[in-house]
């Protein structure tokens, strides 16, 4: 029972990661793939932030009456990763837009069919 309570956050992070993973490999639509990729990404964020949490701790901002703080280091890493994540997702979306303009579709099987037929 204590295992389930203590590891619950990790399991949800893994579940989300696998949902994202499934979307990336199983979905044929390129936008859906990118959505899957961003779910995968947020699951990693969740994993890091969960590890940074300290029992009975508070946000790592100095204030009177608080002396237990959660670890600020994962927060820093994830804070920047979120902004970098959206920037790189935008590059992916821009590529999707160009693919649509060039091929007229963003479904993977149709793209492959077009490539195969000369």
């Amino acid at each position: 029972m204590s295992d389930a309570l203590g590891l619950y956050n990790y399991w949800i992070a893994i579940f989300l990661m696998m949902v994202g993973f499934y979307n990336v490999i199983a979905s044929g639509n390129l936008v859906k793939k990118l959505i899957g990729l961003s779910i995968f990404q947020t699951s990693v964020f969740l994993l890091y932030i969960t590890m940074g949490k300290v029992k009975d701790g508070t946000a790592p901002i100095l204030g009177d009456g608080y002396d237990t703080f959660s670890n600020p280091l994962p927060h820093v890493l994830i804070l920047t990763a979120i902004v970098v994540g959206i920037a790189t997702t935008a590059v992916g979306l821009a590529l999707v837009v160009r693919i649509q303009e060039h091929f007229g579709t963003i479904e993977e099987d149709e793209l492959i069919a077009q490539e195969d037929s000369p």
């Binding site: 295992d3 490999i25 199983a26 936008v31 990118l34 964020f45 701790g57 946000a59 804070l79």
Partner: protein
């Protein structure tokens, strides 16, 4: 209590993720990702990561949703329906997931203060930063000072990503602009949505003001350049959604915008060089003033400003390039 809140929110998150997978309407899926990010931001708040929650709320629920919707308007709103779940992919995901769950049994439990994460530099930052840097928000001191190199690298990545988007989407821009003038100017503008226009007039100044507060109060409370930049960009994006891209481009000409993208990064690197020339190491802010903590304050203020300017203008110019493109 915290366990109950945490578990409920996480269960919701899992449900939303399943819904996202099952839906074939991409419009609904994009809106659901906004809900997903907002839930994630709530969870980050519960887990004490207030700075991260700020960023996730502004980026995930705000800007990324808008970018996905902009992409859909240029491509298609419906995914081709799939016949049945892809069993091969499902098996791979289940196997990987099972292996990872097996791995978690060795992990330290949630909130364990003895976990390896809390044994090395973490406690050092918590113990030393209040006197060494003199800034109450430890996330800011780690982000801007101890790990200043990292942050410089991340800012450079954002800058590069912006260049890539501009290169991909600015192409043939000229012709687009001419044809846009010939047709109707900005059909997307919500000129007739009265409620939206009045509300946005009221909200946009508040959003921009809040962005500035988050920028300059980041040393003392949750906030900083990344969050402020995203919030500021959200305000500008809201303006151009309601009033049309052409009006927004008149207020912030693309040339100025692109100049500012580079300016922010240069300000960051320039602060590093300044401390180098003032007998310190690269990004060692204590060299910037007589007193060490005073120097740190100046350095953090400057680089956070650089980050804020770059992030805000990168997000804005990305949005402009997506929405400036006409459907072919």
């Amino acid at each position: 209590m915290i366990h109950v809140v945490d578990m409920t929110l996480l269960a919701f998150l899992a449900l939303v993720a399943i819904a996202i997978t099952r839906m074939t309407n991409l419009f609904a899926t994009s809106v659901l990702t906004g809900v997903y990010s907002l839930l994630m931001a709530c969870i980050f708040t519960v887990l004490d990561a207030v700075d991260v929650a700020f960023t996730e709320a502004a980026v995930g629920a705000g800007i990324s949703t808008v970018l996905f919707l902009a992409t859909l308007s240029l491509t298609t709103q419906r995914e081709k329906p799939q016949r049945s779940p892809n069993w091969k992919a499902l098996c791979v995901a289940l196997l990987t997931g099972g292996a990872l769950v097996y791995g978690t049994f060795d992990m330290p439990h949630f909130g364990d203060p003895q976990a390896p994460v809390h044994q090395h530099v973490g406690p050092h930052y918590i113990g030393v930063s209040p006197t060494q840097i003199g800034v109450p928000n430890m996330v800011t001191s780690v982000l801007a000072s101890y790990r200043g190199y990292d942050t410089l690298g991340e800012t450079a990545v954002i800058f590069t990503a912006c260049m890539a988007v501009l290169l991909l989407l600015q192409h043939e821009k000229r012709r687009d602009e001419q044809s846009a003038v010939e047709e109707k100017p900005d059909k997307e503008a919500m000129e007739h949505a009265m409620i939206l226009r009045v509300q946005s007039k009221f909200f946009i100044p508040l959003i921009l003001l809040f962005g500035l507060y988050v920028q300059f109060h980041g040393d003392f409370g949750p906030g900083g350049g990344f969050q402020a930049g995203v919030i500021f960009a959200a305000g500008i994006i809201l303006y151009s959604l309601v009033n049309g891209l052409d009006k927004a481009r008149q207020i912030i000409p693309p040339n100025v915008l692109h100049g500012l993208v580079a300016f922010g990064l240069l300000l960051y690197a320039g602060t590093g060089l300044a401390s180098l020339f003032m007998d310190g190491n690269f990004l060692q802010y204590r060299a910037l003033a007589e007193e060490a903590t005073h120097g740190e304050h100046i350095g953090i203020l400057l680089i956070e400003l650089g980050v804020g300017v770059t992030v805000a203008t990168v997000m804005t110019s990305m949005f402009f390039s997506f929405s400036g493109r006409r459907r072919s």
